[in-house]
Subunit: 355 residues, 4 copies
Amino acid sequence: MAGNTYGTVFRITTFGESHGVAIGGVIDGCPAGITLDFEAIQQELNRRKPGQSAIVTQRKEPDTVAFYSGIFEGKTTGTPIGFAIKNANQKSKDYSHIKNSFRPSHADYTYTQKYGVRDYRGGGRSSARETASRVVAGAIAKQVLKDITFNAYVSAVGPLKIEKPYDQLDFAEIEKNDVRCPDPVMAQDMETFIKQIRKDGDTVGGVVSCVISGVPVGLGEPVFDKLHAELGKAMLSINAVKGFEYGSGFDGAQLRGSEHNDLFNTDGTTKTNLSGGIQGGISNGMDIYFNVAFKPVATIMQDQDTINDKGEEVVMQGKGRHDPCVVPRAVPIVEAMAALVLVDFYLLNKTIKYS
Amino acid sequence: MAGNTYGTVFRITTFGESHGVAIGGVIDGCPAGITLDFEAIQQELNRRKPGQSAIVTQRKEPDTVAFYSGIFEGKTTGTPIGFAIKNANQKSKDYSHIKNSFRPSHADYTYTQKYGVRDYRGGGRSSARETASRVVAGAIAKQVLKDITFNAYVSAVGPLKIEKPYDQLDFAEIEKNDVRCPDPVMAQDMETFIKQIRKDGDTVGGVVSCVISGVPVGLGEPVFDKLHAELGKAMLSINAVKGFEYGSGFDGAQLRGSEHNDLFNTDGTTKTNLSGGIQGGISNGMDIYFNVAFKPVATIMQDQDTINDKGEEVVMQGKGRHDPCVVPRAVPIVEAMAALVLVDFYLLNKTIKYS
Amino acid sequence: MAGNTYGTVFRITTFGESHGVAIGGVIDGCPAGITLDFEAIQQELNRRKPGQSAIVTQRKEPDTVAFYSGIFEGKTTGTPIGFAIKNANQKSKDYSHIKNSFRPSHADYTYTQKYGVRDYRGGGRSSARETASRVVAGAIAKQVLKDITFNAYVSAVGPLKIEKPYDQLDFAEIEKNDVRCPDPVMAQDMETFIKQIRKDGDTVGGVVSCVISGVPVGLGEPVFDKLHAELGKAMLSINAVKGFEYGSGFDGAQLRGSEHNDLFNTDGTTKTNLSGGIQGGISNGMDIYFNVAFKPVATIMQDQDTINDKGEEVVMQGKGRHDPCVVPRAVPIVEAMAALVLVDFYLLNKTIKYS
Amino acid sequence: MAGNTYGTVFRITTFGESHGVAIGGVIDGCPAGITLDFEAIQQELNRRKPGQSAIVTQRKEPDTVAFYSGIFEGKTTGTPIGFAIKNANQKSKDYSHIKNSFRPSHADYTYTQKYGVRDYRGGGRSSARETASRVVAGAIAKQVLKDITFNAYVSAVGPLKIEKPYDQLDFAEIEKNDVRCPDPVMAQDMETFIKQIRKDGDTVGGVVSCVISGVPVGLGEPVFDKLHAELGKAMLSINAVKGFEYGSGFDGAQLRGSEHNDLFNTDGTTKTNLSGGIQGGISNGMDIYFNVAFKPVATIMQDQDTINDKGEEVVMQGKGRHDPCVVPRAVPIVEAMAALVLVDFYLLNKTIKYS
């Protein structure tokens, strides 16, 4: 209800503020008997963590996860997996410039109005630091879904955009550059662009695309909980996301049915895939692919006019360590949320048929 | 879990197939003491019903709702509101052409694979007929939210698209034309276009936009259940939807932070509204606006190659009564789902603060 | 949330007031492919319906269920099963004696305080008439659980009580008498006693016991959702229930561990069964058995002092058609709720292990 | 679903095994702006912790809770409250006697069957150690419900039983003796009895009673989620509980309606309270009172015949540190669960009426 839980069968509840003692969570409903690959989990955290390259925030956080329960002799036991990531950066920075003022287009104002109080240190709960807990859960979900692969990548940074469809890209390139763009030439341009944005004391938006392969037919519930509706919700729940489209997406709205329909092969696969791997809210076994639009980060390194909690006009200084563009670090978060959506439907699907 | 329920505090569960005995639902959690305007509810159903104009399906359904419970002497009692809409069209049509074959880009194949069985009459549960039940619930939700207004409209049909921002449109025009487009000139073009599409035996996609005004500050839960994440899920749960964006949307991904940030007025409102009325997942009191992309209807009046349930190639005849373009009838459905999202957060928000 | 839904995977939502248009519900999550035995469903309703014998209320209700959806060619389709039971008795009785007054120990006062309004006709939503919808859902749940048997019976009426343990009773006797007591001699005494209570214009409480056999090992979730905790909640949700105990129950609190422990046979069964078929909240494959205490019906055929909605003292006349003792009609309700608990855990259990 | 979460609006999710790294939980939905009394929270933990007196287990655990989030400058912020209690006792004891064998009437067998694996150290997740996390959440719930008082106490140990009704007891006596019995004479007898049981290497059951005062009228949802149904579930979810009854309870089943009905005073209170403060599932403002039956602890200090995981007969040695009778330490757990039930309905009730 208060919205810190995702999933029904495989359920993650997260806690923690940006500069509190720790962030973490509880994963409930992970099936028993899975031998966990802890290195793979940490590797996903490393892809998300600050300070990993020159184009992301320079905040220092080792982001090492400690597991408290639910695992015995290396295997999941079916009981809840509690975990925490201590905040290295929790101490006494100077927040006087934001303590009583509202950063434009940030959650400062809405939190204060909603709760009557807010933890102003580093954005508190509204910080994207919370997504580290999702990455832990998503990494475990991926290990449950061992036959399904998740490939997210940066497809646009500001006006720079990959035009090729996903099946003409080489996913092996994604982790070879700091932007996580599978087109090496474009990756270079994007990196240069982001560095310029940083020099300008500005930020820029972008798009993360994701392809999910190896999905069994039949995942998704056909009315309110359609597979793509849950994917959409999961992506829109990531900080700074403004839009979601799957398959033909917004472009598909311009097409005719005779152009858009995916004709069948005799094995049930389709000759084209404008449907994006989902029909009637249920996976059809083809690749699922979608785009997620991220707005530019609100915190810029420029002075901005704003107001304080008394409604007085003030000037907000631009300072602190922030990402000039979030999409490179958002790639593992998109994959994590995709895995959390899929694992839930995967487990739920076992109860559908009678036998 | 099986996905036929939407909402937590104000909760709608729907049932019914396209050509079964009846469709309907149960609304649980509607507050007590609301004097219902039954005409307003039926009026919303009329906006959605088939046969209402020359550019929609000519299926005949009066779509009259009967309430079974939860209302006493014209007022809600706080107990569940059960309702049903009888299907006039339930009898013995000829479905032999789809009984054993899978319509391309329809849910026939995925339902059959998921459940091992399907009600093939008119699409069964996968038919958008189910949304009539949502419209009933949404109409009641609107009456709970008496200070909030919902204005959805058609902003694109195929390649024809309104370019003006929403605040330069006259919403009073929406119901004056069959397309439900607030720009009368564009509405005429769209209508002509849809009629040509119908003549071609084809279908076409489109976009519905929606503006929600009068939203109190503080609705939405900040992590997984962000207000826009729920709006996105709700819209993506509507049949044929391929994409959702709010505020600056996909265009916002191209902007810089210095361009995108909404600066404050001293009363907490903002000078611009690229945020789309939501910051950190919580409403900030400004207008919420979003776009919903609909693909073209899969059922076309042309012969198509497809397969049957034995995996044999067959030709599917194009016949039956269908919408050449769903967006005119989708307008009240988008409003209904928006109202269902808002009412849930509105009621939930009462529990947030301590007093 | 508003409490008209039971279950998570197999989920029943009910609606309807005692003297409204209809009662009914929606069953969501019933697996696909089950050939329903409609006669068996109606038979369960007949066991619950009023007017079935001389010792129950003489209200006349045929209680015929109509299914609206979710069933095609006699089989469940995996989509929600909507159903309704029309109220024969909905018309214009004289309720002036209870319209503005509060019946002692009834829900009149609490409903009015909670909702600010109530449907006073026949108790409205607080009437046990609502349980007919549960019986429909429970009858379907039983058909999903074809290897599990449910035997509920009356074990006490007022001071008259069966002393034998359940495994010395002949369940074939249960339906042979109007009381539904498996001990024919005791059944006769109970019937005589209930008739005297009716003559006195009074009511009396009783106990329903239930035995569930054929339960697979492993049902139940070990912390908050223990199998017996859900059974307890389900039973306590039935009108007039004041207590629940399973296995050794309250008597077990007097025993020593050395007396209470159930020692194992080598096949994992136990030599005794004071545990009542559940250990650590999880079924162990032995019979589950429990007792449910029902208070006497609050509506008696005697004048009672009470107050009206202005807080004035008034005399409430005893009139209307009511059960002198609810336990005979509660037997199928207890079985229905037990089946709803079991089916949910049964389906959920499929997701536990990894493979 | 996997059952490690309790509550809907105010929601606690717990994690942790008896001898793992830590136990703890996440509280989601706690209202913002509550100044927490941390000493009061720790005090509740101290009432539950092992080693507190001569009649409980001598396991040493400081049970100090560390809060990780959701609290800022001493006040709740409306964001999730993460917390953990490190296990002092997690290291390397000798479990060889239970590693491959199943303790009679314990959860060893059912866990192994359900999950295919179990953490055998000290009972793992099935240990009542998990309830420490509930006590933390319950202590915070009590602080939200500042006008409601919870008084639980031991009313029976084995055959020794308080006969006085609760309103003739002096609750100030409860914490003055180790048994937590409000009758000082009986408390002495119980203590002597428990010490003898311990000397015998045996265990014994008992009953905890609880009285909740100051409850506002209107809490509880009238159908499946009746207030007493949730109380029942919450109590039955505590380790070793076999029964629950409220108000007149099982004795009430023997009464006539004319004896059982609670007549009204003109202010809406009742002259008697056999209803136990709840009518139709909704609180009526009178004291809520109920009894909870606990079976004797399964682990006894005597050798027992049992089987191992190969189905071979083995003798299980009685050793380790265990409670001879759990009811003294169960008192704060019963209060905690009662507070968790009440706080959820209290917050939910704010959404019922329309204004």
